[in-house]
């Protein structure tokens, strides 16, 4: 197979950058900041090069790079992209520099370590999306917990220690079962073929032959780990705490990319490795997803903390992604993939926007605000657009994802019941309720607190530079989603083909 080093460059740019940053003197804050942004931007440029050289018509993995790593276990450093992972890689490299820019003035304490953590985190996330070796995947999956743990634990709010430990242990506990399943799979492969392997492409062929009952357990082990990361109801409670306590940058990365690792795992591992079990459990999982959609929306309705409100809205939105994934129609899976990006953009934007006023007032409680439209009109407009995008207004990105997911789940043969769609659709109403209500309480009315007039100022240039690109994509996806859907179509298609080839009796 032809080797291509491009993805390795991409993966190692933030790793090397994170090491180099340690050599800069702590006092040279601006240098550290610029360096961080530079490295993250270089990674973005490399990912763009990948994008422009990517052949979206093929469903195979491209830009493959493979080096033997642990000979005796037949584990290799094996990376590559298909449309789905490329889209998420782009999301990661797109958001990281913006995140670093957004913290320009809010992080002062131990800046070097912070920049190191963010870059290291980026590498971890990229590794998760790029890995084609399940062992390598696991290494990245776990490695990325560490920088996030520090980001919440060091630069977080008051209850940061509680939140960071909860985040760490909760997600770690889930992934241990996955490790067991990975080892089991490798051993199973060695029994079947005489060769121990953790190569994902080979396992795609091997794993579906596991007997139904054991496959169920294997599926469960993987699923639990991903479901915690998504997070799927009722495994979500680490999320609000983590979001509330994390600094803005942490929340943006968490919502923007980290949660997508869970949904990506479902698409990349759960579905193709264990197709029979995936189909078997799809109705059950979809019930949880739909409960999550409504539950998350209702709970966010009564939150008094802006960040908590947005955090619970994530539970609701990601319920859509899980529903789309397990409805297993081309529309729903495509919708789920684009919804991953949408959620990253809109919720990322919402967290950034909350961060903007938090930085000025150090208040997150909705009740403190009111009437800020008069003080910060541009900000108010931006908040409206981000909210509307999250609400799923046609013309903005959120609509496309929800629309395709609902469309696909309605006709899904795997779910074979339209009530899922009906209930999920009601989440769309509640989304309007909690976001518009929040918007009204923050933005409309008369200026409630005289303090606001003194402290609140509209965007500065740096904040505009951070937000404008996000809004460009929010509108772009809303108006012409084909740019992005075409990228992932072949990959989604091939996963579904793969699933249906093993579960023909389920899919008629």
């Amino acid at each position: 197979m032809e080797q291509n080093l491009l993805l390795t460059y991409l993966l190692f740019t933030p790793i090397i950058g994170s090491v180099l940053v340690l050599f800069i003197k702590q006092e040279q804050k601006n240098l550290i900041r610029w360096f961080g942004v530079l490295i993250a931007s270089v990674a973005f440029v490399i990912s763009l090069i990948v994008y422009f050289n990517f052949d979206a018509s093929k469903s195979e993995f491209q830009f493959i790079h493979q080096i033997v790593w642990i000979q005796s276990l037949n584990v290799s450093y094996y990376i590559g992209v298909d449309g789905i992972s490329l889209l998420l890689v782009l999301l990661t490299t797109f958001l990281t520099p913006l995140t670093l820019l957004s913290t320009w003035s809010s992080i002062e304490n131990n800046l070097k370590m912070f920049t190191f953590s963010i870059l290291f985190l980026e590498a971890g996330m990229l590794g998760v999306f790029l890995s084609l070796d399940i062992f390598l995947f696991y290494v990245f999956w776990e490695a990325m917990l560490i920088p996030m743990y520090f980001i919440i634990g060091i630069w977080g709010g008051e209850r940061r220690i509680y939140a960071s430990i909860k985040f760490f242990i909760f997600t770690m506990a889930g992934s241990l079962l996955m490790l067991v399943a990975i080892i089991w799979l490798a051993v199973y492969a060695s029994q079947l073929t005489g060769k121990f392997t953790t190569n994902l492409i080979e396992l795609y062929k091997i794993a579906p032959t596991i007997t139904q009952q054991i496959q169920g357990w294997m599926f469960g082990a993987f699923f639990l780990s991903f479901a915690i990361k998504v997070p799927l109801f009722p495994l979500h409670t680490w999320l609000p705490d983590a979001h509330v306590e994390a600094p803005t940058a942490g929340s943006v990365i968490l919502a923007g990319v980290l949660l997508k690792m869970g949904t990506y795992g479902l698409v990349r591992y759960c579905l193709p490795l264990f197709p029979q079990s995936a189909v078997q459990f799809a109705p059950l999982i979809s019930v949880l997803a739909v409960i999550g959609i409504i539950y998350g929306a209702l709970v966010s309705m009564v939150q008094t903390d802006m960040k908590k409100l947005v955090a619970y809205s994530s539970v609701s939105h990601l319920g859509f992604v899980v529903l789309g994934t397990f409805a297993m129609t081309i529309e729903s899976v495509q919708g789920a993939v684009i919804q991953m990006v949408n959620h990253g953009l809109s919720t990322g934007a919402l967290f950034l926007l909350v961060g903007v006023i938090y930085e000025r007032t150090h208040r997150r409680d909705i009740a403190y605000y009111g009437g800020i439209a008069k003080i910060v009109p541009v900000y108010s407009t931006a908040l409206l657009i981000a909210s509307l995008s999250s609400i799923g207004l046609p013309g903005l990105n959120g609509f496309i994802g929800e629309f395709l997911i609902l469309l696909g789940s309605f006709k899904s043969q795997v779910l074979d019941n339209w009530w899922y769609t009906v209930f999920a659709a009601s989440g769309v109403i509640f989304a309007a309720v909690y976001l518009l209500w929040m918007y009204q309480r923050i933005v409309f009315g008369v200026v409630k607190n005289p303090d606001l007039k003194n402290h609140l100022t509209d965007f500065n240039k740096r904040e505009l530079i951070v937000l404008i690109p996000i809004f460009v994509f929010i509108v772009w996806i809303g108006i012409y989603p084909s740019t992005f859907l075409n990228l992932t179509e072949a990959a989604s298609q091939s996963i579904l083909n793969h699933v249906s080839s093993f579960t023909f009796d389920f899919l008629k």
Binding site: I330, L407, A425, L436
Partner: protein
């Protein structure tokens, strides 16, 4: 004149207001004069729409023009085949007329607003919002498919949200904006699911293809229930947007928006979008679906009319009258009087816009006084406003020689025919009752506002007639409320070009057994041909014919009665309104408080949801998070136990061993005295013991 020219012009009309919105929104703050750009844009769009209307009706009278493109495509899905999601526009006669109506009213409202909104804090922003509203509304009008209808449907909801909330400093305005958006969304979800049913079965959103398939007998999932359900669900969108019972509650609140907005959006155009939607899906409605629609429409019009009787806010009266009239249109579609429903949509748009702008003129003159109890005598101060308002009132009351008479009479005849053919007499009874109530409350409004003596002298003294830019739109709209524009014979609406040549009832495409008998043209069974020129079955035509004069006579009589009672009570004061209200206090309060529907919703749906949310939030914090923290606690508890085990048992054993060894050592240490004598004693004892033990001798 070519088709492509017409298409391109329509697209231009569609996108011009979007351009206006974008430019004015982003640059309006720097260049306050840019509102003129928006006005110019809308003027252009209006002129173009006049041209399109003329061209369509004269060159392509019987031919529809359309074009579409693929928006999203997914090829070769496993077992499903290609999926193409297309967007496109289609211009038929109804579209062309709607383009004209929307652009005309939008244009007049823009002009009116120049003066009315003068000095507003967010003047340019207001105009840019008018732009995005017009864009969204035109999208609804032009679409040839359900998806695009839904997209623009939501965008209209957004622009309505923005415009109702224009004065967001007022809590009531912000509340009303939110309420409008959310209540509309409830209807929209029903519509969305209806669309999903249709798309899942037909793999297309296109009206024409769906109807064509239907006419071939291909119905959703081979079940008439699904077909009926799809019709009713899509209609739910109209229930939201056209403010039908039980989702009508947002419209009266929406009056918090600036009055020209009420005229444009919440009277003439956006709320008519629901009616327009039903005309679009009319051919796929089964008898059951039509009956549901007729009942909802009739009930809505009755509810709203009874509420309008007692309201004291000039805009609230007009708002409920709008709800009532929209109910009329919906009812009309339900009973099969398709063309009259659309006709009423158009005539109502003009006279209701005139009434709203008139009320705006009054409010403007009275310095934002909206309570009619504080008005009176204004006809002397505001002659132009008064006359135009009066003409429109006459029109809405259904007095002959007006446009309202033509369209209302047709609707009432339709309900009567429907009653005769199906036995559902309750619908015409409600319809005629509403006709009388409408005449009454509209004249009550006119008398209290313009006639008699001024009740608030201070405000009266300062009142002044509105300037030209506000008066001119009123005159134009009032003139359009006269019959002559629609038919040469003021007593025969279907004798005119509007009904005879332009708007034709399309034949139903649903299977014969699911139609009303009268909808089925018994002459032939040729269902494949779309948009045939058959209006209805001979049966229906006959019934309409039968109903025509009785309906006319009855409606004139009832309108006269309504007007007479209004005069008796408010002009001549022969009946004391207050005493009457006192006598029927229960009914009066019921009407004044809008059937207590807001209170009912508050007590049920709203507080129910809020309390449930609060419960869930508690559940989340206590139970789910409690489980997580409980697990953590258990973990710590077991660690503690292990710690204790480690300290006391494991370590204890080790320490005990050490202690024991030490103890032994200590014990034996005492023996080591260092004295030779002692050691000799030990040795002797040892030897003796050994000797005794082994007995060597």
């Amino acid at each position: 004149m070519t088709e492509s020219l017409l298409l391109n012009l329509s697209l231009l009309i569609l996108f011009l207001p979007l351009l206006g919105f974008t430019v004015v929104l982003f640059l309006g703050k720097k260049f306050p004069k840019l509102y003129l750009f928006e006005v110019g844009i809308i003027t252009t769009a209006f002129l173009l729409s006049v041209f399109v209307l003329f061209a369509k009706l004269s060159y392509f009278t019987a031919q529809d023009i359309g074009s579409s493109f693929t928006w999203i495509s997914m090829s070769a899905a496993p077992l499903l085949g290609n999926i193409n999601i297309e967007l496109g526009i289609k211009i038929d006669n109804i579209t062309a007329i709607m383009l004209f109506v929307v652009n005309l009213i939008s244009f007049l409202v823009h002009v009116f607003s120049i003066e009315y909104m003068h000095g507003d804090k967010r003047y340019t922003r207001y105009f840019s919002y008018l732009g995005i509203f017009t864009f969204s509304m035109l999208g609804i009008v032009l679409t040839d498919n359900l998806l695009m209808m839904y997209i623009f449907w939501e965008l209209v909801g957004l622009s309505s949200y923005l415009l109702i909330g224009h004065w967001f400093e007022k809590k009531s305005a912000a509340d009303a904006a939110k309420k409008a958006f959310i209540v509309n969304r409830i209807g929209d979800i029903g519509m969305f699911i209806g669309i999903l049913i249709l798309f899942t079965h037909y793999k297309t959103f296109s009206f024409d293809i769906i109807f064509q398939q239907l006419s071939l007998g291909n119905i959703p999932f081979n079940s008439e229930v699904w077909l009926t359900a799809a019709g009713i669900l899509v209609f739910m969108g109209a229930v939201g947007k056209s403010a039908q019972f039980p989702l009508h509650v947002w419209l009266p609140d929406a009056m918090e928006g600036p009055t020209p907005v009420s005229a444009l959006i919440h009277a003439a155009t956006m709320v008519a979008a629901g009616v327009y939607l039903v005309t679009r899906i009319f051919v796929m409605l089964t008898a059951d679906a039509m009956l549901v629609i007729a009942v909802i429409g009739a009930f809505t019009s009755l509810v709203a009319a009874t509420i309008a009787l007692t309201q004291n806010d000039i805009k609230k009266v007009l708002a409920y009258s709008t709800v009532s009239q929209l109910g009329y249109m919906i009812m009309s579609l339900g009973v099969g009087a398709y063309a009259f429903a659309f006709f009423h949509l158009v005539t109502h748009a003009f006279f209701k816009a005139c009434l709203f702008l008139g009320s705006g003129s009054v409010i403007h003159a009275m310095h934002h006084e909206q309570d009619i109890r504080n008005m009176g005598g204004l006809r002397k101060k505001l002659p132009i406003t008064y006359f135009t308002f009066l003409i429109s009132t006459i029109a809405i009351s259904g007095v002959p020689l007006t446009s309202g008479f033509l369209s209302k009479d047709g609707i009432l005849a339709g309900t009567l025919a429907f009653g005769k053919l199906t036995g559902h007499w309750l619908i015409p009874i409600m319809g005629f009752t509403v006709a009388m109530l409408t005449a009454f409350y509209m004249f009550r409004l006119v008398i209290l506002t313009f006639h008699s003596e001024p009740r608030d002298h201070h405000k009266f003294e300062h009142a002044h007639e509105s300037p030209f830019v506000m008066a001119a739109p009123l005159v134009i709209l009032a003139v359009l409320s006269i019959f002559i524009w629609y038919t040469p014979n003021p007593f025969a609406p279907d004798a005119g070009w509007f009904m005879k040549d332009w708007v034709k009832t399309p034949a139903s495409v649903v299977p014969v057994e699911t139609q009303f008998d009268f909808m089925n043209p018994s002459s032939s069974g040729n269902h494949s041909e779309l948009h045939r020129e058959i209006v209805h079955s001979p049966l229906y035509t006959e019934a309409m014919h039968w109903a025509h004069y009785p309906a006319m006579a009855l409606s004139i009589f009832l309108a006269g009665m309504g007007i007479l009672v209004a005069y008796l009570m408010y002009q001549w004061k022969k009946i004391n309104a207050d005493k009457l209200a006192e006598k029927i206090k229960v009914l009066y309060n019921f009407s004044l408080n809008k059937w207590f529907l807001d209170e009912v919703y508050d007590a049920t749906a709203i507080s129910g949801t809020t309390n449930f949310s609060k419960f869930l939030s508690w559940f989340d914090n206590t139970i789910i998070d409690g489980a997580v923290n409980g697990t953590a606690w258990l973990g710590r508890f077991f660690s503690k136990l292990s710690d204790m085990f480690d300290t006391y048992i494991v370590d204890g054993f080790v320490n005990f061993s050490a202690f024991f060894s030490g103890f032994i050592g200590l014990s034996f240490k005492r023996l080591q005295t260092g004295k030779v004598q002692t050691y000799i004693v030990f040795v002797v004892f040892a030897v003796i013991i050994l000797l005794l033990f082994f007995k060597p001798f």
